[in-house]
């Protein structure tokens, strides 16, 4: 297939994964902002996804409505949901003949939905949870449509590599945010913060099933980093990246395949043999940063070897 097409499919999947992940994070945080006793702050999230100056972050940190507007529908913010959807769609537009008509229409609907006036009003003045549920549902439809209509050929591999790579990055991102939020508090005690983290990764129920209702930081970290049954765990995501990269073998030049195989394998064992020591938060933060850097490294190798960009 064309390098440009592989590139666009890869990025379409990344933008969509980011959209869906971000929506879940924002939704969880909004709910937290409503039921928490002490003063809830959007500060860390805005710092990472708001693309704002420190003064603006400070101003918005305690105003949920404005934070939502900035994170979901602000076109000027390059990390916002609307921006991600727009770019997913622009990439899809350039490869309309490679994705199925259904996938294209689904993305197109998503784009029109997030721009819809009623939805934006609902988010601003009505019930933001309903607005985000509508968006979430469209995101779920996207996964379903991709799964049921796309043929299992080369494009599907690139699509999934993009998707799981982005998911791993997002999980590492969220872990990092959480760790910074808990800075100063005792990160290793039971804290509602970790419960919200599990919510935003859709992993709370799975945690309860395995751990009988006790939220304990080491157990949360084990699930989010290493649990091969948890679809947002970093080890699981990289396993999927590896699986789809493996499937490219018959389509790829031998040298290209060998190089990416090596890089992915190395990153996977880095995760596997990492340790999480809660007494050293700086080291933990560094671990999450390393995971992200490793993911970027995988992305760059695809960019050079398969997509022909330098």
């Amino acid at each position: 297939m064309l390098s440009r097409v592989a590139d666009a499919v890869f990025w379409m999947a990344r933008y969509m994964e980011r959209t869906n992940g971000l929506l879940r994070v924002i939704r969880t945080n909004y709910i937290a902002s409503q039921d928490e006793v002490k003063d809830f702050s959007w500060q860390t999230i805005l710092e990472v996804y708001g693309n704002l100056k420190p003064e603006a972050v400070a101003e918005m940190a305690h105003q949920s409505a404005r934070a939502l507007e900035c994170l979901v529908i602000d076109k000027e913010n390059p990390s916002s949901v609307i921006h991600n959807i727009r770019f997913a769609r622009e990439n899809a537009r350039a490869v309309q003949d490679h994705i199925t008509k259904e996938v294209w229409q689904c993305l197109n609907d998503f784009y029109h939905l997030v721009r819809d006036e009623h939805l934006q009003e609902l988010l601003r003045f009505g019930d933001p949870v309903s607005a985000m549920d509508l968006l979430n549902k469209q995101g779920m439809t996207y996964y379903g449509v991709v799964d049921t209509t796309m043929s299992r050929s080369e494009d599907f591999c690139f699509l999934n590599i993009g998707k799981y790579l982005e998911r791993a990055i997002l999980t590492a991102d969220i872990l990092q945010i959480k760790l910074r939020e808990l800075q100063g508090e005792e990160a290793n005690t039971e804290s509602p913060g970790w419960r919200y983290l599990l919510y935003s990764l859709a992993g709370y129920e799975w945690y309860l099933k395995n751990n009988r209702g006790n939220i304990q930081t080491p157990l949360v970290l084990r699930q989010v980093l290493y649990d091969m049954h948890f679809p947002h765990a970093i080890a699981y995501c990289l396993g999927q990246v590896n699986r789809y990269a493996e499937r490219l073998r018959p389509f790829a030049l031998p040298e290209t395949f060998r190089q990416t195989e090596f890089i992915i394998g190395k990153v996977m064992s880095d995760i596997k043999y990492s340790t999480t020591d809660l007494s050293d938060l700086a080291a933990l933060d560094q671990l999450f940063q390393d995971i992200k850097n490793n993911c970027y490294h995988i992305g760059n190798s695809f960019n050079q070897l398969y997509f022909g960009n330098s």
């Binding site: 297939m1 537009r93 309309q96 003949d97």
Partner: protein, 481 residues
């Protein structure tokens, strides 16, 4: 005829109406009218809404990039189909085939021996002064001597119902995807009307096109690689490019996906370079090769011209076709038909005054209010003056421009264009239409899918149907009746 949206339909005098004759509804429309005349106004509005929604959700839009982020617009679609009788259609079909045969021989001739100039049928000056005549195409042999693989011939009807050819579009005619989409929308909004009216199908267009494209590859290639070259997502016809590529199952490429090495064209893939044999290009001549034509072009492929010249890649349509659809050369098409084919033209030309002929200028200036003035190398409804609707100032501006550069202008009497009923603001109203059938010229002959694209001037009284000037389109039916 007591229905609210059918009543009050005014046909204007001196305009041919596609649906109404003096004696009432024309025969070939009767079936359709009987199916919709009992629908309530609410139902009709609902269908109109549905059509708009379908276009939007399928992304059948063109994007206007004005303020950073593009604004999505749908190409306005009118739900009432335009219906053509089979007998009439067979005349149109024969006329277009005849015309294309002559135009194709003309292109082969003008880029080789130039008999038509030597025999004094067309003045040499006219050909060499045409900006779209490409010296680079002289003595280039192309597969099967076919230049006009895909063409869209614009037809209009005068007040007595006679068809005239208004323009031959032989370069990269667009709109065929709207023909296909309009049909697929019609069967959603008028269930079972299409089979009941025995409307001839158009959906085999991509199959015919692909068959022709494959046939043009070098015969030593067993499994030719056919691609569609698009200028990219910012092109207003991008939707059409993706639709056609998808329907034919061929790769949609941009200039940056192709490279030329040793006079062969390759595309960049995830496993290295892959040879390309046939290119259906939607990039204009000027932009296709920056080494030969415009050096600032980012859309083309450096070196592709020489690969083409060597016969290593087939390019569709051929380069240099613009000399045959130049509006001043147009005036000579009937002569070409007589000269090359020894036949009388089946379809008429609109009488055309070339303004570089001194006598013609005064003639046209004297009755400018009854004339249309057009620039010879422009399309899309630009560079045009309709005398009946122009101000004194506009006329004077055109006169000055004509005196400065008479070769670039022609004048034609205003043809009043036939009207067809459209569903606008809850009632049927007449609006002016033209017709663009699409013809495919392959090694096995010419195929024309029945119908084509009917374009509508949606503004009341307007004669300009171009989409860039507020025009829309209709589904077009050819029915056996």
């Amino acid at each position: 005829m007591d229905n609210s949206f059918l009543s009050g339909y005014d046909t204007s005098p001196g305009v041919w109406d596609e649906m109404f004759a003096a004696a009432g509804i024309r025969g070939h429309y009767r079936n359709f009218v009987s199916a919709i005349e009992n629908l309530s106004a609410a139902e009709m509005s609902h269908k109109d809404e549905l059509a708009k929604k379908l276009f939007m959700s399928q992304g059948i839009t063109f994007t206007v990039y004005s303020s950073g982020e593009g604004v999505e617009k749908i190409f306005p679609f009118d739900i009432i189909p335009r219906i053509i009788q089979a007998a009439e259609w067979s005349t149109i079909e024969a006329g277009i085939k005849q015309r294309l045969k002559a135009l194709n021989i003309f292109l082969r001739d003008v880029y080789h021996e130039q008999f038509i100039i030597k025999d004094g049928i067309i003045p040499a000056k006219l050909i060499y002064s045409c900006p779209n005549f490409l010296r680079e195409m002289m003595h280039v042999d192309i597969p099967h001597d076919i230049y006009t693989h895909i063409s869209g011939i614009d037809l209009i009807r005068d007040s007595d119902g006679t068809y005239y050819v208004l323009e031959d579009n032989l370069r990269t005619p667009s709109g065929v995807s709207y023909m296909l989409e309009n049909r697929s929308i019609t069967y959603r909004i008028f269930p079972s009307l299409l089979p009941r009216n025995k409307v001839r199908s158009v959906k085999h267009y991509p199959d015919l096109l692909l068959r022709n494209l494959l046939a043009l590859a070098n015969r030593s290639t067993s499994n030719p690689n056919v691609v569609l070259l698009t200028p990219g997502i910012y092109n207003s016809a991008y939707f059409e490019h993706t639709t056609l590529a998808r329907l034919m199952g061929i790769e949609l490429v941009e200039g940056r996906d192709l490279v030329v090495d040793n006079h062969f064209v390759y595309m960049k893939t995830t496993r290295g370079l892959q040879k390309v044999d046939v290119i259906y290009r939607r990039v204009d001549d000027d932009f296709i090769d920056p080494l030969v034509f415009r050096p600032d072009s980012m859309l083309g492929v450096p070196g592709i011209y020489w690969a083409y010249r060597k016969g290593n890649v087939a390019i569709i349509n051929a380069m240099g076709n613009g000399v045959a659809d130049d509006k001043a050369v147009y005036a000579y098409v009937p002569d070409m038909i007589k000269y090359y084919l020894n036949e009388e033209p089946i379809l008429k030309n609109v009488p055309t005054y070339r303004l570089e002929i001194p006598g013609n200028q005064q003639l046209v200036f004297d009755k400018m209010d009854q004339m249309v003035i057009k620039k010879t190398n422009e399309s899309g409804g630009y560079g045009m003056l309709i005398g009946s609707a122009a101000t004194e100032k506009e006329m004077d501006d055109f006169k000055t421009a004509i005196r400065n550069d008479p070769r670039s202008f022609i004048a034609q009497p205003i043809i009043s264009l036939s009207a067809a009923p459209c569903y606008i603001n809850g009632r049927l109203q007449p609006r002016r239409v033209d017709l663009r059938p699409y013809a495919l010229y392959g090694p096995d002959g010419i195929d024309i899918v029945p119908g084509g694209l009917t374009r509508v001037a949606l503004k009341e009284g307007s004669l300009v149907v171009n989409s860039s000037q507020g025009g829309g389109s209709k589904d077009t039916w050819v029915v056996d009746e």
